[in-house]
Symmetry: C2
Subunit: 271 residues, 2 copies
Protein backbone atom coordinates (compact mmCIF):
# COMPACT_ATOMS: atom_id res chain seq x y z
CA UNK A 1 0.00 0.00 0.00
CA UNK A 2 1.62 3.32 -1.01
CA UNK A 3 2.08 5.99 1.63
CA UNK A 4 -1.08 8.10 1.78
CA UNK A 5 -3.38 5.36 0.52
CA UNK A 6 -6.02 5.04 3.20
CA UNK A 7 -8.40 2.82 1.21
CA UNK A 8 -7.62 -0.16 3.43
CA UNK A 9 -8.24 1.98 6.53
CA UNK A 10 -11.67 2.87 5.17
CA UNK A 11 -12.49 -0.74 4.32
CA UNK A 12 -11.65 -1.68 7.91
CA UNK A 13 -14.03 0.98 9.21
CA UNK A 14 -16.81 -0.30 6.98
CA UNK A 15 -16.14 -3.87 8.09
CA UNK A 16 -16.42 -2.75 11.71
CA UNK A 17 -19.71 -1.00 10.95
CA UNK A 18 -21.15 -3.92 8.97
CA UNK A 19 -22.56 -5.84 11.98
CA UNK A 20 -24.26 -2.68 13.23
CA UNK A 21 -25.76 -2.05 9.79
CA UNK A 22 -27.02 -5.65 9.68
CA UNK A 23 -28.44 -5.33 13.15
CA UNK A 24 -30.36 -2.17 12.22
CA UNK A 25 -31.65 -3.77 9.01
CA UNK A 26 -32.90 -6.85 10.84
CA UNK A 27 -34.71 -4.75 13.42
CA UNK A 28 -32.51 -5.96 16.28
CA UNK A 29 -30.99 -2.51 16.90
CA UNK A 30 -33.77 0.07 17.34
CA UNK A 31 -31.97 2.53 19.64
CA UNK A 32 -29.89 5.66 19.14
CA UNK A 33 -26.89 5.59 16.82
CA UNK A 34 -25.04 8.22 18.89
CA UNK A 35 -21.40 7.24 19.32
CA UNK A 36 -21.70 4.20 17.05
CA UNK A 37 -19.33 3.91 14.03
CA UNK A 38 -18.17 7.44 14.88
CA UNK A 39 -15.96 7.93 11.79
CA UNK A 40 -18.87 7.40 9.42
CA UNK A 41 -21.40 10.00 8.32
CA UNK A 42 -24.85 9.61 9.83
CA UNK A 43 -27.80 11.32 8.22
CA UNK A 44 -31.08 12.99 9.05
CA UNK A 45 -33.75 11.60 6.75
CA UNK A 46 -36.95 13.02 5.24
CA UNK A 47 -39.06 10.92 2.87
CA UNK A 48 -41.83 12.67 0.92
CA UNK A 49 -44.16 12.00 -2.01
CA UNK A 50 -42.71 13.29 -5.29
CA UNK A 51 -45.20 16.18 -5.56
CA UNK A 52 -43.71 17.61 -2.34
CA UNK A 53 -40.11 17.01 -3.34
CA UNK A 54 -39.47 20.16 -5.38
CA UNK A 55 -40.64 22.40 -2.53
CA UNK A 56 -38.52 20.49 -0.04
CA UNK A 57 -35.45 20.60 -2.28
CA UNK A 58 -35.84 24.37 -2.47
CA UNK A 59 -36.29 24.51 1.31
CA UNK A 60 -32.95 22.69 1.75
CA UNK A 61 -31.30 24.97 -0.81
CA UNK A 62 -32.60 28.03 1.06
CA UNK A 63 -31.48 26.83 4.49
CA UNK A 64 -28.14 25.07 4.00
CA UNK A 65 -27.05 25.40 7.65
CA UNK A 66 -30.11 23.71 9.14
CA UNK A 67 -30.73 21.41 6.15
CA UNK A 68 -27.34 20.47 4.65
CA UNK A 69 -28.37 18.15 1.82
CA UNK A 70 -25.98 15.28 1.14
CA UNK A 71 -28.13 13.00 -1.02
CA UNK A 72 -31.50 12.76 -2.81
CA UNK A 73 -32.93 9.51 -4.18
CA UNK A 74 -34.63 8.78 -7.47
CA UNK A 75 -38.44 8.80 -7.02
CA UNK A 76 -39.61 5.40 -5.86
CA UNK A 77 -36.10 4.02 -5.51
CA UNK A 78 -35.14 3.07 -1.94
CA UNK A 79 -31.43 2.94 -2.82
CA UNK A 80 -28.94 5.74 -2.13
CA UNK A 81 -25.83 4.44 -3.89
CA UNK A 82 -23.77 7.57 -3.11
CA UNK A 83 -24.15 6.85 0.60
CA UNK A 84 -23.93 3.06 0.75
CA UNK A 85 -23.44 0.29 -1.83
CA UNK A 86 -26.49 -1.73 -0.75
CA UNK A 87 -28.33 0.83 1.36
CA UNK A 88 -32.12 0.37 1.52
CA UNK A 89 -33.84 3.34 3.11
CA UNK A 90 -36.89 1.17 3.92
CA UNK A 91 -35.01 -0.96 6.47
CA UNK A 92 -31.76 0.78 7.38
CA UNK A 93 -32.92 3.27 10.04
CA UNK A 94 -33.39 2.00 13.63
CA UNK A 95 -36.76 3.70 14.08
CA UNK A 96 -38.93 5.78 11.75
CA UNK A 97 -41.39 8.57 12.60
CA UNK A 98 -44.43 8.67 10.35
CA UNK A 99 -46.15 12.05 9.90
CA UNK A 100 -49.75 12.12 8.61
CA UNK A 101 -51.14 15.54 7.66
CA UNK A 102 -48.31 17.09 9.68
CA UNK A 103 -49.11 15.19 12.86
CA UNK A 104 -46.69 12.74 14.42
CA UNK A 105 -48.39 9.38 13.90
CA UNK A 106 -46.88 5.94 14.46
CA UNK A 107 -43.22 5.01 14.80
CA UNK A 108 -42.01 1.83 13.10
CA UNK A 109 -38.72 0.00 12.58
CA UNK A 110 -39.29 -0.85 8.92
CA UNK A 111 -41.26 1.01 6.22
CA UNK A 112 -41.51 -1.63 3.50
CA UNK A 113 -45.28 -1.78 4.03
CA UNK A 114 -45.59 2.01 3.83
CA UNK A 115 -43.36 2.51 0.81
CA UNK A 116 -44.92 4.33 -2.17
CA UNK A 117 -43.72 4.31 -5.78
CA UNK A 118 -43.46 8.13 -5.68
CA UNK A 119 -41.41 8.47 -2.47
CA UNK A 120 -38.28 10.64 -2.64
CA UNK A 121 -35.66 10.38 0.11
CA UNK A 122 -33.63 13.35 1.31
CA UNK A 123 -30.57 12.79 3.52
CA UNK A 124 -29.15 15.72 5.47
CA UNK A 125 -25.87 15.91 7.39
CA UNK A 126 -26.00 15.38 11.15
CA UNK A 127 -24.24 16.80 14.17
CA UNK A 128 -22.93 13.32 15.04
CA UNK A 129 -20.29 13.96 12.34
CA UNK A 130 -19.03 17.05 14.11
CA UNK A 131 -19.26 15.34 17.52
CA UNK A 132 -16.71 12.89 16.13
CA UNK A 133 -14.53 15.80 14.99
CA UNK A 134 -14.85 17.51 18.39
CA UNK A 135 -13.88 14.30 20.19
CA UNK A 136 -10.85 13.85 17.92
CA UNK A 137 -9.89 17.46 18.79
CA UNK A 138 -9.77 16.45 22.46
CA UNK A 139 -13.00 18.12 23.54
CA UNK A 140 -15.45 16.42 25.88
CA UNK A 141 -19.09 16.52 24.80
CA UNK A 142 -21.49 16.75 27.71
CA UNK A 143 -24.27 14.61 26.24
CA UNK A 144 -21.70 11.90 25.49
CA UNK A 145 -20.22 12.22 29.01
CA UNK A 146 -23.70 11.93 30.51
CA UNK A 147 -24.71 9.15 28.07
CA UNK A 148 -27.75 11.20 27.14
CA UNK A 149 -29.32 12.29 23.87
CA UNK A 150 -28.26 15.83 22.91
CA UNK A 151 -30.54 18.66 24.14
CA UNK A 152 -32.62 20.15 21.29
CA UNK A 153 -34.85 23.24 21.40
CA UNK A 154 -37.36 25.02 19.19
CA UNK A 155 -35.67 28.42 18.69
CA UNK A 156 -37.24 31.67 17.48
CA UNK A 157 -34.82 31.81 14.51
CA UNK A 158 -37.00 31.68 11.39
CA UNK A 159 -35.91 29.54 8.47
CA UNK A 160 -36.31 30.95 4.96
CA UNK A 161 -39.66 29.63 3.65
CA UNK A 162 -39.79 27.68 0.38
CA UNK A 163 -43.08 26.63 -1.16
CA UNK A 164 -45.19 25.02 1.54
CA UNK A 165 -42.27 24.56 3.97
CA UNK A 166 -41.57 27.06 6.72
CA UNK A 167 -40.93 27.21 10.47
CA UNK A 168 -38.39 28.05 13.12
CA UNK A 169 -35.00 26.41 13.44
CA UNK A 170 -34.48 23.59 15.92
CA UNK A 171 -31.07 23.88 17.60
CA UNK A 172 -28.92 21.41 19.50
CA UNK A 173 -26.91 22.61 22.50
CA UNK A 174 -23.51 21.59 23.89
CA UNK A 175 -21.85 23.54 26.73
CA UNK A 176 -18.10 24.29 26.85
CA UNK A 177 -15.71 26.52 28.77
CA UNK A 178 -14.70 29.49 26.61
CA UNK A 179 -11.40 28.14 25.32
CA UNK A 180 -13.05 24.87 24.27
CA UNK A 181 -15.99 26.79 22.78
CA UNK A 182 -13.60 28.73 20.56
CA UNK A 183 -11.95 25.47 19.48
CA UNK A 184 -15.38 23.92 18.87
CA UNK A 185 -16.30 26.79 16.56
CA UNK A 186 -13.08 26.24 14.60
CA UNK A 187 -13.56 22.48 14.34
CA UNK A 188 -17.21 22.60 13.30
CA UNK A 189 -16.55 25.35 10.75
CA UNK A 190 -14.73 22.66 8.74
CA UNK A 191 -17.96 20.68 8.43
CA UNK A 192 -20.63 22.81 6.73
CA UNK A 193 -22.37 19.61 5.57
CA UNK A 194 -22.83 18.69 9.24
CA UNK A 195 -24.39 22.07 10.18
CA UNK A 196 -21.02 23.86 10.39
CA UNK A 197 -20.34 26.46 13.08
CA UNK A 198 -22.84 27.27 15.84
CA UNK A 199 -25.67 29.70 15.08
CA UNK A 200 -25.69 31.13 18.62
CA UNK A 201 -23.88 30.99 21.94
CA UNK A 202 -24.37 32.46 25.38
CA UNK A 203 -27.77 33.72 26.57
CA UNK A 204 -30.40 31.22 25.35
CA UNK A 205 -33.24 33.78 25.76
CA UNK A 206 -31.83 35.73 22.81
CA UNK A 207 -33.01 32.91 20.53
CA UNK A 208 -36.28 32.28 22.34
CA UNK A 209 -35.19 29.52 24.73
CA UNK A 210 -36.47 30.39 28.18
CA UNK A 211 -35.50 27.25 30.08
CA UNK A 212 -32.31 25.53 28.99
CA UNK A 213 -33.00 22.67 31.41
CA UNK A 214 -36.19 21.74 29.52
CA UNK A 215 -35.27 20.79 25.94
CA UNK A 216 -38.09 20.25 23.42
CA UNK A 217 -36.36 17.11 22.10
CA UNK A 218 -33.67 14.86 23.60
CA UNK A 219 -32.44 15.01 27.17
CA UNK A 220 -31.36 17.84 29.50
CA UNK A 221 -27.62 18.05 30.28
CA UNK A 222 -25.68 20.00 32.92
CA UNK A 223 -24.43 23.50 32.02
CA UNK A 224 -21.81 24.59 34.56
CA UNK A 225 -21.37 28.17 35.82
CA UNK A 226 -18.11 28.69 33.93
CA UNK A 227 -19.48 27.33 30.65
CA UNK A 228 -21.16 28.88 27.63
CA UNK A 229 -23.94 26.97 25.88
CA UNK A 230 -23.27 26.69 22.12
CA UNK A 231 -26.23 26.19 19.81
CA UNK A 232 -25.99 24.50 16.42
CA UNK A 233 -28.67 24.24 13.73
CA UNK A 234 -30.24 20.80 14.02
CA UNK A 235 -31.57 18.25 11.55
CA UNK A 236 -34.86 18.11 13.46
CA UNK A 237 -35.67 21.48 11.85
CA UNK A 238 -37.40 19.82 8.85
CA UNK A 239 -39.72 17.97 11.22
CA UNK A 240 -41.06 21.35 12.38
CA UNK A 241 -41.48 22.34 8.74
CA UNK A 242 -43.40 19.09 8.12
CA UNK A 243 -45.74 19.98 10.99
CA UNK A 244 -46.40 23.29 9.24
CA UNK A 245 -46.59 22.05 5.64
CA UNK A 246 -48.87 19.11 6.52
CA UNK A 247 -48.15 16.72 3.63
CA UNK A 248 -50.58 13.75 3.68
CA UNK A 249 -47.66 11.47 4.52
CA UNK A 250 -44.01 11.96 5.33
CA UNK A 251 -41.49 9.71 7.05
CA UNK A 252 -38.41 10.75 9.01
CA UNK A 253 -35.96 9.10 11.37
CA UNK A 254 -36.72 9.34 15.09
CA UNK A 255 -34.38 12.03 16.53
CA UNK A 256 -31.05 10.44 17.49
CA UNK A 257 -31.72 7.26 15.48
CA UNK A 258 -29.96 8.13 12.27
CA UNK A 259 -29.14 6.62 8.88
CA UNK A 260 -25.65 5.10 9.01
CA UNK A 261 -23.78 5.65 5.71
CA UNK A 262 -20.51 4.41 4.18
CA UNK A 263 -19.06 7.92 3.83
CA UNK A 264 -16.30 9.16 6.14
CA UNK A 265 -16.96 12.32 8.16
CA UNK A 266 -13.63 13.57 6.82
CA UNK A 267 -15.06 13.39 3.29
CA UNK A 268 -17.51 16.13 4.32
CA UNK A 269 -14.79 18.47 5.62
CA UNK A 270 -13.96 21.55 3.57
CA UNK A 271 -10.47 22.00 5.02
CA UNK B 1 -1.30 42.78 -16.46
CA UNK B 2 -2.35 39.09 -16.49
CA UNK B 3 -5.48 38.06 -14.60
CA UNK B 4 -4.54 37.32 -10.99
CA UNK B 5 -1.52 39.63 -10.95
CA UNK B 6 -2.16 41.98 -8.06
CA UNK B 7 1.32 43.50 -7.95
CA UNK B 8 -0.02 46.78 -9.26
CA UNK B 9 -2.75 46.75 -6.62
CA UNK B 10 -0.09 46.31 -3.93
CA UNK B 11 2.07 49.09 -5.36
CA UNK B 12 -0.96 51.38 -5.22
CA UNK B 13 -1.48 50.54 -1.56
CA UNK B 14 2.15 51.28 -0.76
CA UNK B 15 1.94 54.56 -2.67
CA UNK B 16 -1.11 55.51 -0.64
CA UNK B 17 0.74 54.66 2.59
CA UNK B 18 3.92 56.51 1.60
CA UNK B 19 2.83 59.98 2.83
CA UNK B 20 1.84 58.47 6.20
CA UNK B 21 5.19 56.70 6.50
CA UNK B 22 7.00 59.96 5.67
CA UNK B 23 4.89 61.84 8.18
CA UNK B 24 5.74 59.34 10.94
CA UNK B 25 9.44 59.44 10.04
CA UNK B 26 9.54 63.22 10.16
CA UNK B 27 7.84 63.30 13.55
CA UNK B 28 4.75 65.06 12.20
CA UNK B 29 2.46 62.10 12.94
CA UNK B 30 2.84 61.00 16.57
CA UNK B 31 -0.66 59.60 17.15
CA UNK B 32 -2.28 56.19 16.89
CA UNK B 33 -2.01 54.21 13.64
CA UNK B 34 -5.41 52.56 14.20
CA UNK B 35 -7.42 52.52 10.98
CA UNK B 36 -4.55 53.99 8.91
CA UNK B 37 -3.36 52.06 5.82
CA UNK B 38 -5.67 49.24 6.95
CA UNK B 39 -4.55 46.67 4.34
CA UNK B 40 -0.95 46.77 5.54
CA UNK B 41 0.53 44.82 8.44
CA UNK B 42 1.30 46.89 11.52
CA UNK B 43 3.65 45.56 14.14
CA UNK B 44 4.25 45.53 17.87
CA UNK B 45 7.92 46.32 18.49
CA UNK B 46 10.39 45.30 21.20
CA UNK B 47 14.02 46.48 21.01
CA UNK B 48 16.53 44.88 23.38
CA UNK B 49 20.30 44.66 23.86
CA UNK B 50 21.77 41.56 22.18
CA UNK B 51 22.47 39.78 25.47
CA UNK B 52 18.71 39.77 26.16
CA UNK B 53 17.74 38.72 22.64
CA UNK B 54 18.11 34.95 22.96
CA UNK B 55 15.81 34.85 26.00
CA UNK B 56 13.26 37.04 24.25
CA UNK B 57 13.37 34.96 21.08
CA UNK B 58 12.64 31.88 23.19
CA UNK B 59 9.83 33.76 24.95
CA UNK B 60 8.23 34.51 21.54
CA UNK B 61 8.71 30.91 20.46
CA UNK B 62 7.05 29.69 23.66
CA UNK B 63 4.07 32.06 23.39
CA UNK B 64 3.19 32.29 19.71
CA UNK B 65 -0.38 33.51 20.30
CA UNK B 66 0.56 36.52 22.42
CA UNK B 67 3.93 37.11 20.71
CA UNK B 68 3.58 36.14 17.04
CA UNK B 69 7.03 36.94 15.70
CA UNK B 70 7.13 38.28 12.15
CA UNK B 71 10.67 39.71 11.95
CA UNK B 72 13.95 39.99 13.88
CA UNK B 73 16.75 42.39 12.94
CA UNK B 74 20.50 41.85 12.75
CA UNK B 75 22.17 43.15 15.95
CA UNK B 76 22.84 46.87 15.63
CA UNK B 77 21.10 47.14 12.27
CA UNK B 78 18.02 49.42 12.32
CA UNK B 79 16.78 48.02 8.98
CA UNK B 80 14.10 45.34 8.62
CA UNK B 81 14.20 44.63 4.88
CA UNK B 82 11.58 41.86 5.05
CA UNK B 83 9.04 44.39 6.33
CA UNK B 84 9.91 47.52 4.34
CA UNK B 85 12.49 48.36 1.66
CA UNK B 86 13.84 51.43 3.48
CA UNK B 87 12.41 50.91 6.94
CA UNK B 88 14.44 52.46 9.79
CA UNK B 89 13.23 51.31 13.20
CA UNK B 90 14.86 54.39 14.84
CA UNK B 91 12.44 56.83 13.19
CA UNK B 92 9.47 54.90 11.81
CA UNK B 93 7.28 54.53 14.88
CA UNK B 94 5.05 57.47 15.91
CA UNK B 95 6.00 57.28 19.59
CA UNK B 96 8.41 55.04 21.51
CA UNK B 97 8.22 53.89 25.14
CA UNK B 98 11.60 53.58 26.82
CA UNK B 99 11.90 51.07 29.68
CA UNK B 100 14.81 51.43 32.13
CA UNK B 101 15.32 48.55 34.59
CA UNK B 102 11.77 47.44 33.80
CA UNK B 103 10.20 50.81 34.63
CA UNK B 104 8.39 52.90 32.06
CA UNK B 105 10.69 55.90 31.58
CA UNK B 106 10.43 58.56 28.88
CA UNK B 107 8.47 58.42 25.63
CA UNK B 108 10.11 59.85 22.49
CA UNK B 109 9.29 60.15 18.80
CA UNK B 110 12.76 59.19 17.53
CA UNK B 111 15.41 56.89 19.05
CA UNK B 112 18.47 57.79 16.96
CA UNK B 113 20.09 59.28 20.09
CA UNK B 114 19.31 56.16 22.13
CA UNK B 115 20.42 53.61 19.53
CA UNK B 116 23.05 51.09 20.61
CA UNK B 117 25.27 48.97 18.38
CA UNK B 118 23.94 45.81 20.08
CA UNK B 119 20.21 46.52 19.77
CA UNK B 120 18.05 43.77 18.29
CA UNK B 121 14.55 44.59 17.05
CA UNK B 122 11.65 42.15 17.32
CA UNK B 123 8.44 42.81 15.40
CA UNK B 124 5.27 40.98 16.40
CA UNK B 125 1.95 40.82 14.57
CA UNK B 126 -0.81 43.13 15.75
CA UNK B 127 -4.58 42.98 16.11
CA UNK B 128 -4.96 45.87 13.67
CA UNK B 129 -4.40 43.24 10.94
CA UNK B 130 -7.39 41.26 12.10
CA UNK B 131 -9.48 44.40 12.64
CA UNK B 132 -9.02 44.97 8.91
CA UNK B 133 -10.12 41.39 8.21
CA UNK B 134 -13.15 41.77 10.52
CA UNK B 135 -14.16 45.00 8.79
CA UNK B 136 -13.86 43.37 5.37
CA UNK B 137 -16.10 40.58 6.69
CA UNK B 138 -18.78 43.17 7.40
CA UNK B 139 -18.40 43.29 11.18
CA UNK B 140 -18.46 46.55 13.10
CA UNK B 141 -15.67 46.99 15.66
CA UNK B 142 -16.78 48.92 18.72
CA UNK B 143 -13.49 50.77 19.35
CA UNK B 144 -13.49 51.87 15.71
CA UNK B 145 -17.17 52.91 15.94
CA UNK B 146 -16.41 54.88 19.08
CA UNK B 147 -13.14 56.27 17.67
CA UNK B 148 -11.36 54.98 20.75
CA UNK B 149 -8.26 52.92 21.37
CA UNK B 150 -9.08 49.25 21.94
CA UNK B 151 -9.65 48.20 25.59
CA UNK B 152 -6.73 46.17 26.96
CA UNK B 153 -6.51 44.34 30.29
CA UNK B 154 -3.94 42.50 32.39
CA UNK B 155 -5.43 38.97 32.55
CA UNK B 156 -4.57 36.18 34.97
CA UNK B 157 -3.55 33.90 32.06
CA UNK B 158 0.13 33.08 32.62
CA UNK B 159 2.49 33.06 29.66
CA UNK B 160 5.08 30.30 29.43
CA UNK B 161 8.28 31.70 30.97
CA UNK B 162 11.52 31.70 28.95
CA UNK B 163 14.81 32.77 30.50
CA UNK B 164 14.26 36.02 32.35
CA UNK B 165 10.91 36.76 30.67
CA UNK B 166 7.62 35.86 32.32
CA UNK B 167 4.28 37.41 33.21
CA UNK B 168 0.56 37.30 32.55
CA UNK B 169 -1.04 37.84 29.16
CA UNK B 170 -2.45 41.23 28.24
CA UNK B 171 -5.69 40.84 26.26
CA UNK B 172 -7.64 43.19 24.02
CA UNK B 173 -11.44 43.10 24.06
CA UNK B 174 -14.05 43.65 21.37
CA UNK B 175 -17.77 42.98 22.01
CA UNK B 176 -20.10 41.35 19.46
CA UNK B 177 -23.54 39.79 19.33
CA UNK B 178 -23.24 35.98 19.26
CA UNK B 179 -23.59 35.49 15.49
CA UNK B 180 -20.92 38.13 14.82
CA UNK B 181 -18.72 36.68 17.57
CA UNK B 182 -18.80 33.28 15.84
CA UNK B 183 -17.88 34.94 12.54
CA UNK B 184 -15.10 36.91 14.27
CA UNK B 185 -13.61 33.67 15.61
CA UNK B 186 -13.62 32.21 12.09
CA UNK B 187 -12.08 35.32 10.52
CA UNK B 188 -9.32 35.77 13.10
CA UNK B 189 -8.45 32.06 13.04
CA UNK B 190 -7.06 32.72 9.55
CA UNK B 191 -4.50 35.14 11.03
CA UNK B 192 -2.33 33.32 13.59
CA UNK B 193 0.45 35.88 12.99
CA UNK B 194 -1.96 38.58 14.19
CA UNK B 195 -2.85 36.73 17.44
CA UNK B 196 -5.34 34.40 15.72
CA UNK B 197 -8.59 33.39 17.42
CA UNK B 198 -9.69 34.81 20.78
CA UNK B 199 -8.29 33.25 23.96
CA UNK B 200 -11.49 33.85 25.94
CA UNK B 201 -15.06 35.07 25.62
CA UNK B 202 -17.95 35.74 27.96
CA UNK B 203 -17.44 36.27 31.69
CA UNK B 204 -14.33 38.47 32.12
CA UNK B 205 -13.88 37.41 35.77
CA UNK B 206 -12.87 33.93 34.58
CA UNK B 207 -9.60 35.46 33.30
CA UNK B 208 -9.11 37.82 36.23
CA UNK B 209 -10.79 40.94 34.85
CA UNK B 210 -13.10 42.30 37.53
CA UNK B 211 -14.21 45.55 35.88
CA UNK B 212 -14.56 45.49 32.12
CA UNK B 213 -15.28 49.23 32.10
CA UNK B 214 -11.80 49.97 33.50
CA UNK B 215 -9.18 48.70 31.04
CA UNK B 216 -5.51 48.71 32.11
CA UNK B 217 -4.47 50.13 28.71
CA UNK B 218 -6.45 51.93 26.01
CA UNK B 219 -9.99 53.24 26.37
CA UNK B 220 -13.23 51.76 27.73
CA UNK B 221 -15.91 50.89 25.16
CA UNK B 222 -19.59 50.05 25.51
CA UNK B 223 -20.58 46.38 25.92
CA UNK B 224 -24.31 45.98 25.29
CA UNK B 225 -26.60 43.56 27.14
CA UNK B 226 -26.99 41.26 24.15
CA UNK B 227 -23.26 41.13 23.40
CA UNK B 228 -20.40 38.85 24.42
CA UNK B 229 -16.97 40.35 25.06
CA UNK B 230 -14.27 38.54 23.06
CA UNK B 231 -10.71 38.64 24.35
CA UNK B 232 -7.66 38.28 22.12
CA UNK B 233 -4.01 37.94 23.17
CA UNK B 234 -2.41 41.36 22.82
CA UNK B 235 1.01 42.60 21.74
CA UNK B 236 1.28 44.61 24.96
CA UNK B 237 2.02 41.28 26.70
CA UNK B 238 5.80 41.65 26.18
CA UNK B 239 5.70 45.02 27.96
CA UNK B 240 4.52 43.22 31.11
CA UNK B 241 7.35 40.71 30.64
CA UNK B 242 9.81 43.62 30.36
CA UNK B 243 8.51 44.99 33.66
CA UNK B 244 9.30 41.60 35.19
CA UNK B 245 12.63 40.89 33.46
CA UNK B 246 13.99 44.40 34.12
CA UNK B 247 16.60 44.73 31.36
CA UNK B 248 18.71 47.90 31.83
CA UNK B 249 17.15 49.33 28.70
CA UNK B 250 14.41 48.27 26.32
CA UNK B 251 12.33 50.23 23.83
CA UNK B 252 8.84 49.45 22.57
CA UNK B 253 6.16 51.28 20.66
CA UNK B 254 3.52 53.13 22.71
CA UNK B 255 0.36 50.97 22.67
CA UNK B 256 -1.72 51.79 19.58
CA UNK B 257 1.15 53.59 17.83
CA UNK B 258 2.50 50.79 15.71
CA UNK B 259 5.17 50.11 13.13
CA UNK B 260 3.66 50.42 9.64
CA UNK B 261 5.12 47.79 7.27
CA UNK B 262 4.95 47.11 3.52
CA UNK B 263 3.45 43.66 3.97
CA UNK B 264 -0.22 42.99 3.20
CA UNK B 265 -2.39 41.60 5.99
CA UNK B 266 -3.47 38.94 3.50
CA UNK B 267 0.14 37.75 3.30
CA UNK B 268 -0.16 36.71 6.96
CA UNK B 269 -3.33 34.67 6.41
CA UNK B 270 -3.04 30.89 6.55
CA UNK B 271 -6.17 30.21 4.52
Amino acid sequence: MPIGDYSEFKINLLDQAAPLRASIRSGAHTGTTSGLAPSLVQGNVVILPADWAADFLMYCQSNPVALPLIAVSEPGNPALPDLGHDLDIRTDIPEYQVFRDGERAETVTDIRDLWQGDFVTFVLGCSFSFEDALTRAGLSIRNVEQQANVSMYRSNIATRPAGRFHGNMVVSMRPFIAADAIRAIQVTTRLPKAHGAPVHMGDPRLIGINDISAPDFGDPVTVKDDELPLFWACGVTPQVALENARPPIAITHVPGKMLLTERLNEELAVL
